[in-house]
């Protein structure tokens, strides 16, 4: 039995009258990529924001790397955040800083105990990993969408997190760049041995990166399993519909 | 930008800012003489006229200290504690006194130390000054107010005087208001002028007569060659002639004068507030004018009489008769033409 790094039980979250999450159960095992599939506005992003402590759950148990997020101190939360990396949908790079400064940021202000040389070494390593060594002195505004995503991932993995949370990693990118990002996700998994939750509505991404796939429909997980299991012929009409919109050609499964 | 360079710039910015602030503090301190040794002194005033903490203390027009605090003393007034620079101490003597004045006409209240005799020795720390009272601005204003009242009273009197002149009271008033009096004066002047013309005519005739007297054939010459009578007669005629012309001038002047006087007086009367009315409200002047008129009148009468007498004197009777005949002839010739 593999280790569980994230354990969520019966999670509820609502914003006013809008009930987003209605009793979610989720387990993330060590070293796996879990893809959470769902339409826009179904609360996928809310789920991972709860996991990294950006949003507080209304009800339910959230256990991440042994920390109970309902009873966590500030110091513990900070420690947890160094273990959990979050890649934002729009990269969220700091506009006023160079790429180097962006990647250095968590090392400099969160880890704090590294020398300038160590930091440079780490920055070079992740930039090499994402294949953008030449952009070190550039500002985010000078980069393309795909490059920004890569730098966003680089900034996340620079602190060697145990868990990576990807929020729509391929949203807004062209298909070729999408594939590159998917490859990068897999490469990061192999190289940095991190467990990941990938939030997406892109089935290609799900298929290429996901060890397991969970489909979030109406605030609950409709089905969990590997890609083939989820999208088999017994799938519900909603899952089928979801699949059909992504792959116009049905032969794929 | 290089972070070291940025840090240096920020440090420089802060440093200069602090230097400016420190400069401000030092300048104020030097003005307030914060870092100068001082001695304290005391004075008790009935009224401090708005003196407050921080006001300056002057000695011979030089700032030597500042007011430190004020406190009330029941029944006595206000105790003013002030400080004097130690270096000025040697010039201020024990019997010097203090008063409250102002820096300029509308400036802050100041404490002024003045007087003092070297024989009394210099003041010491804690010296209690005796006070002297200076005319405050309030006093000045009070005096000004009194002056105003006096001026008001004077102008009121003037107004009344002018009013009474205007209504014909008093000599001047009568003179100005009484039409008949003015007419009389005017008439007299007219007469005076007519008389003067007559005198001129007469003098001319006399002159002609005189010339004829020079004819050695004529009796008059004979007469005139008399060395004693003739020069006298000549000088009499000359004086008569000049007397007549000056009399004529006088008459002309007198007319102008009267007219001017009239217009002036009219002006004065019409302007009731003129202080000039006071000057001419003088009975002596009116009397004097009247008597002058009388003298002029009697003068002309006497002149007429003299001329009449001259016509009848044996010396001139023939001349006048001849003159009468010549005139008749001339009139006839004129008629025949």
């Amino acid at each position: 039995m593999r280790n569980t790094v994230i354990e969520i039980r019966d999670l509820y979250k609502s914003f006013g009258d809008l009930h987003v999450l209605k009793g979610i159960d989720l387990d993330l095992y060590d070293g796996e990529n879990l893809v959470v599939l769902g339409k826009s506005g179904t609360g996928k992003s809310v789920l991972i924001k709860i996991i990294c402590g950006l949003i507080k759950a209304d009800k339910g148990k959230v256990n991440v790397l042994g920390y109970d997020l309902n009873n966590i101190t500030k110091a513990e939360l900070n420690a947890l955040r160094l273990e959990v990396g979050f890649c934002f949908q729009h990269s969220a790079l700091y506009d006023s800083m160079t790429i180097q400064e962006n990647i250095e940021f968590p090392l400099k202000y969160a880890l704090k105990n590294l020398s300038k040389m160590e930091m440079d070494k780490k920055v070079d390593r992740v930039l090499e990993a994402v294949g953008l060594e030449q952009t070190k002195k550039q500002y985010p505004a000078e980069l393309s969408g795909g490059q920004k995503k890569r730098i966003g991932i680089a900034r996340t993995i620079v602190v060697n997190p145990k868990i990576l949370l990807y929020d729509e990693p391929t949203a807004g990118l062209d298909p070729i760049t999408c594939v590159e990002i998917n490859d990068l996700i897999n490469q990061v998994k192999a190289e940095f041995k991190a467990s990941s939750i990938i939030i997406t509505h892109d089935l290609t991404c799900a298929k290429q990166t996901g060890d397991r796939v969970s489909v979030l429909l109406d605030g609950v997980f409709e089905k969990t399993g590997n890609f083939a299991e989820v999208f088999n012929s017994e799938a519900s009409s909603q899952i089928k519909q979801f699949h059909d919109y992504n792959f116009i050609d049905n032969k794929n499964f | 930008m290089n972070s070291t360079k940025k840090n240096a710039k920020v440090a420089l910015f802060m440093l200069f800012g602090l230097i400016i602030f420190a400069g401000g503090i030092i300048l104020i301190s030097s003005m307030r003489k914060v870092f100068i040794k001082k001695i304290s002194a005391v004075a008790v005033f009935q009224d401090v006229a708005g003196l407050t903490k921080g006001n300056n203390v002057w000695f011979s027009g030089v700032k030597v200290g500042t007011v430190e605090s004020l406190e009330f003393i029941p029944d006595k007034g206000v105790k003013v504690n002030f400080q004097i620079e130690e270096k000025s101490q040697q010039y201020i003597f024990k019997d010097a006194d203090v008063k409250i004045s102002t820096d300029g006409l509308i400036g802050n209240p100041i404490l002024v130390i003045s007087g003092g005799n070297i024989s009394q020795g210099v003041i010491e720390d804690g010296h209690i000054f005796k006070i002297s009272r200076e005319d405050s601005q309030q006093d000045m204003i009070k005096t000004l107010q009194e002056n105003n009242k006096n001026i008001l009273a004077i102008t009121d009197d003037l107004k009344n005087m002018i009013a009474s002149i205007d209504s014909g009271k008093g000599n001047l008033g009568k003179f100005l208001k009484d039409e008949t009096l003015f007419n009389e004066v005017s008439q007299t002047v007219g007469q005076l002028r007519a008389s003067s013309y007559q005198v001129t005519d007469f003098a001319k005739s006399l002159n002609q007569f005189g010339k004829k007297l020079n004819d050695p054939q004529g009796l008059p010459y004979q007469l005139a060659t008399n060395k004693t009578i003739m020069p006298k007669l000549e000088s009499t005629v000359n004086s008569l002639e000049s007397g007549a012309s000056s009399l004529q001038k006088t008459a002309g002047n007198a007319e102008v004068l009267v007219n001017e006087v009239k217009s002036d007086l009219n002006r004065i009367t019409s302007s009731k507030n003129s202080a000039f009315g006071v000057l001419i409200n003088n009975p002596e002047m009116a009397d004097y004018m009247k008597s002058t008129m009388i003298n002029v009148e009697s003068g002309t009468e006497k002149l007429d009489e003299n001329l009449e007498a001259l016509q009848h004197s044996i010396f001139f009777r023939k001349y006048f008769r001849k003159k009468e005949e010549r005139e008749k002839e001339a009139a006839k010739a004129m008629d025949s033409e």
Binding site: L82, F105, Y109, A110 | G24, S30, I106
Partner: protein, 264 residues
């Protein structure tokens, strides 16, 4: 549980006023949070210095120009009134009192509110909208410490320093005007100018400038930090920063003048 009686008002006063009250409350909470979180130990010095550079040095040119013109024009415009009393020799003291007691801090604060306030509001607003603040938070860096405390502190320190510059430059402007018109030399000018200024004036001006700086920093950071989503939110944050800062600057001015006068 009791049911709400029908027709009972949903709002405390009205929706708009309730929103304003809640906004005010969250503003007060924001200030309280600042004092709770502030500590020199956790202060991010490099960011603080960077902000001092941005807020202080980068505003220096603008502030200097404004200060110079203020001194020059104020002197020029005051002259006729004093001339009526034949008291143009009082110009240095009049101008210095006006500059030190009120103008230096006020002019600096208003210019800074416009320049620095809108800058901070827009910067933090766009950071909020593009999730950069969230990114900081998940990087285990407290964005409040990193963004808000450094900026507020930089404003609180830089604006008083800028106001000293303004005062110095304004006095220089005034001196030039007085020198050209009355041929007063610098020594006499400084003597007249500083003779009428007290430590109370200088102190109250300093306190005022510190309060102005703190207010500009706090208001701008609050507006930007709590910007709503979207580009409209960024513009609104910048606008709110300036408007509220200037409004509060005048309120503070009134209060400080009242308090200072009670010491006179």
């Amino acid at each position: 549980m009791l049911k709400k009686p029908p027709g009972k008002r949903e709002n405390f006063i009205s929706e708009k006023i309730d929103r304003q009250l809640l906004d005010f409350k969250s503003g007060v909470d924001f200030v309280i949070l600042f004092f709770k979180e502030f500590s020199f130990k956790t202060l991010v010095w490099s960011e603080f210095v960077h902000q001092c550079y941005q807020i202080g040095l980068k505003s220096l040119g603008l502030i200097s120009l404004t200060g110079f013109v203020t001194g020059l024009v104020f002197t020029q415009q005051s002259r006729p009134s004093l001339l009526d009393f034949g008291a143009e020799s009082w110009l240095p003291s009049l101008v210095s009192i006006a500059i030190v007691r009120a103008l230096a801090a006020l002019v600096t604060a208003i210019i800074a509110a416009g320049k620095v306030g809108s800058n901070i509001g827009a910067e933090l607003g766009s950071m909020r909208v593009t999730e950069q603040i969230d990114a900081m938070e998940v990087s285990a860096v407290r964005p409040f410490n990193f963004l808000v405390i450094t900026r507020v502190l930089a404003c609180t320190i830089s604006i008083p320093i800028l106001s000293f510059y303004t005062a110095a430059v304004a006095l220089a402007g005034s001196f030039i005007n007085v020198y050209v018109n009355e041929q007063t030399n610098l020594r006499a000018f400084l003597f007249d100018a500083f003779d009428s200024i007290t430590f109370l004036d200088l102190g109250s001006s300093l306190i005022k400038a510190i309060l102005f700086g703190f207010t500009i920093g706090m208001v701008s950071c609050y507006s930007g930090y709590n910007a709503s989503k979207g580009t409209i939110g960024v513009g609104k944050a910048a606008n709110t920063s300036v408007v509220r800062s200037i409004f509060l600057i005048f309120i503070i001015e009134i209060f400080v003048v009242q308090v200072t006068n009670s010491f006179r």
